[in-house]
C-alpha cells in the first residue's frame, strides 16, 4: 500500500463543549485531486486549520507522508510540504504582487534572513517569482500593490504565494469565493498546470467547480465525514442530496 500524502486518524477538535471535528479519518493520496464539500459550519475550514497546524487538535493524529506531524508547528509543516490558501484573502496589502510572491519564495529558498545582499541580486529567486506571477496570469499587474487588485485577482495571487513554497500538498480553501462563476475556470486552469505529484484538496461551495475538478469527493457534515466517493457516486447519493444539495434536483453537477 502506498503511503498517503496526508492522513488523519480519529481526528477530534472541540472548543469547550462544542465538537467541531469528530473522529475524522481522512486520506489524501499523492497527486490526488480531491474536493471537500459540506454545508456552512460543517467544519471545513477548521479541518484545514488542523491539517496545517494553525489549530491544535484535541485528539487524534495528522500524518504527512506517513510521518506523525500532530505536534509540529505550522512553520515546520509548511517546510515539510503543506501549502494552503486562505478562505478570507490574506496577503500583504501594501506590497506589490511581485513582492508578495517574493516573500514566499525567499522563505522557501532560505534566503529571507539575508541581510546584506539586495533583493535585486537574487536573480534565481526573482526569475521564479516572475514565473509564478505569469502562471497565475498576473504579469500585467506585477508591480501593483495587492490591495488595489480586484478581489478575484487577489485570489489568484493567494495561489501564487502558496505555490511559491513548493508544496507537495496544496489545500485550497474556497479559492473561487468572490470570483464570478464565469471566471472560476481560471482556477481550474491553474490547477491543471500543476505537476501531477502535487496532491490538491479543494474546499468550495461552487458545485460546478468541484464536480469539474475532483477525482474524489469527501462530504463533511457537522464535523464528520458523511460519505466519500467519485463525483458520480456523490451526485447520486441520497444522503448527500438531502443534507447538502437540499431538495433541488441535482441539475448542477449533471450539467458539468
Amino acid at each position: 500500500m502506498e503511503t498517503a500524502a496526508l492522513e488523519t486518524r480519529a481526528l477530534n477538535c472541540s472548543f469547550e463543549a462544542n465538537h467541531v471535528i469528530t473522529d475524522v479519518n481522512f486520506t489524501l493520496r499523492p497527486g490526488e485531486r480531491r474536493a471537500l464539500i459540506g454545508p456552512n459550519g460543517a467544519g471545513k475550514t477548521t479541518f484545514v486549520n488542523l491539517l496545517t497546524g494553525r489549530l491544535r487538535v484535541s485528539s487524534g493524529h495528522v500524518l504527512l507522508n506517513g510521518e506523525d506531524v500532530t505536534q509540529l508547528s505550522e512553520a515546520r509543516r509548511i517546510r515539510l510540504g503543506i501549502g494552503r490558501t486562505f478562505q478570507i484573502t490574506s496577503l500583504f496589502p501594501k506590497m506589490t504582487v511581485r513582492e508578495n510572491v517574493f516573500l514566499a519564495v525567499a522563505e522557501c529558498d532560505g534566503i529571507a534572513g539575508n541581510l546584506f545582499r539586495s533583493v535585486f541580486s537574487h536573480g534565481r529567486q526573482l526569475a521564479r517569482v516572475d514565473e509564478l506571477v505569469h502562471r497565475v496570469g498576473l504579469s500585467d499587474v506585477a508591480d501593483v500593490p495587492a490591495q488595489l487588485l480586484p478581489y478575484g485577482r487577489q485570489r489568484l495571487l493567494e495561489i501564487a504565494v502558496a505555490l511559491a513554497l513548493r508544496p507537495t500538498i496544496l489545500l485550497l480553501d474556497e479559492p473561487a469565493a468572490g470570483i464570478p462563476t464565469a471566471e472560476s475556470h481560471v482556477i481550474l486552469d491553474i490547477i491543471a498546470t500543476l505537476p501531477k505529484e502535487i496532491a490538491v484538496l479543494l474546499i468550495d461551495h461552487d458545485m460546478d467547480l468541484v464536480f469539474r475538478f475532483a477525482q474524489q469527493i469527501s462530504v463533511l457534515v457537522r464535523g464528520s465525514i458523511l460519505v466519500e466517493g467519485s463525483p458520480d457516486d456523490i451526485a447520486a447519493d441520497s444522503q448527500v442530496r438531502e443534507v447538502y444539495l437540499g431538495d433541488s434536483k441535482h441539475g448542477r453537477p449533471a450539467a458539468a
Binding site: 506590497m95 516573500l103 522563505e107 522557501c108 539575508n114 533583493v119
Partner: protein, 336 residues
Amino acid sequence: MTTMPVSRNVSVTIRFGVIRSGLIRLLKLLPWLVIASLPLVLAGYEPLATQIFVMILFALSLDLLVGYAGIVTLGHAGLFGMGGYTAGILSVHGITDPLVTALCAMAVAAFTGLVFGVAMLRTKGLTLLMLTMASAALLYEIANKATGLTGGEDGLQGVAFSPLLGVFAFDFRGKTAFFYSLTVLFLVFSFVQVLINSPFGWSLRGIRENDARMAAIGCPIMRRRVIAYVIAAALAGLAGALQAQTTQFVALHSLGFELSGNILIMLILGGSGRLYGAFIGCPVFMLAQDQLAKQDPANWFLGLGVILIAFVMLAPGGILGIAARTVDAIKMRRRA
C-alpha cells in the same frame, strides 16, 4: 525559442540602467556634499548641526523598528543612553579612543537590545508599547542609583576622548565632531539602505503588514523581529556614543522617557517607513523647538503640541507623506 531578441533588449536596458543608476547615485551623494560644505558658509553652527546629525542617526535606528518592523517603541532612549554611558564610562576609565568606545557602545546596546528583545517581542501592540517604556525606565533607574559608575543625577563627569584616528582632536568649534558625526551618519544610512532592500528587510515589511500570513509561509517571526531589534539597538547605541563624544557629557535624560517620546515625534513628523523621514523630521523638530522656546520660554511645549496634533490629524504620513501625495497627484493629472 525566442530568447535572442529578448536577451538583446535586456542587454540594452542593462547598459542604460548602469548609466542611469550611476547618475542617480551621484545625485544622491549631492545633498551629503552640500551638507559637508556647510561649515564654509555657516561657521559657528557646527555644534547644532552635530546634534541634529546625532538625532537623525537615532531616528533612523527607530525607523527600522517603527517604519519597517512595525515595532512601536517608547523606550528607544534606553538603548541610546546605554551607548552613551558605555562610551562615557570607558573614557573616564582611560579608554578614550572614539572609534573603540563607539564600537563598545554598539556592542553593549546590542546586547541590551537582545535581552529586552527576547523578553518583549513575544507581545504586540499596546502590551509591547508598555514593555518598551518599562525597559527604558528600568535602565534609567539603574543609572540613577548606580552613582559610583554613572554620577547619578549629576551626570557623568570627566568625559573626554582622545583625537579621532589619533589625528583630529575634538576642538572647541566642533569641526571634528561635525565631520565625524556626518561621516558616521552617512555610513549608517548606506547600511540601513542596503538592509531595507535585502530579503530580510522585505520580510520585516511582510511581518508588519500581516504577521499571521508570514507565519503561514514559514517565516520565523520572533527571530526576525529580535534581529531587527538588536540591529536598531546597536545603531541607537552608536548615536548615544556619538552624543557622549561630541558633547563630552552623559546625563540621565539621555535614558529618559522624554527623549524616547521626542525621537518618535521627530520620526512621525518627517514620515516613518521612508528613511528620509528622519532627515526631515529631526531638523524641523529641533529648529521648531528652538524658535518656539525663544518666542515663549514658558509655554513652548504648547506650540509643539498644536503642531503635532495638526500633523497626526491632517498628515498621518508626515512631511514626506504630504510630498509623496503631491507628487502622485501631479502624476495622475499628467496622465489624465
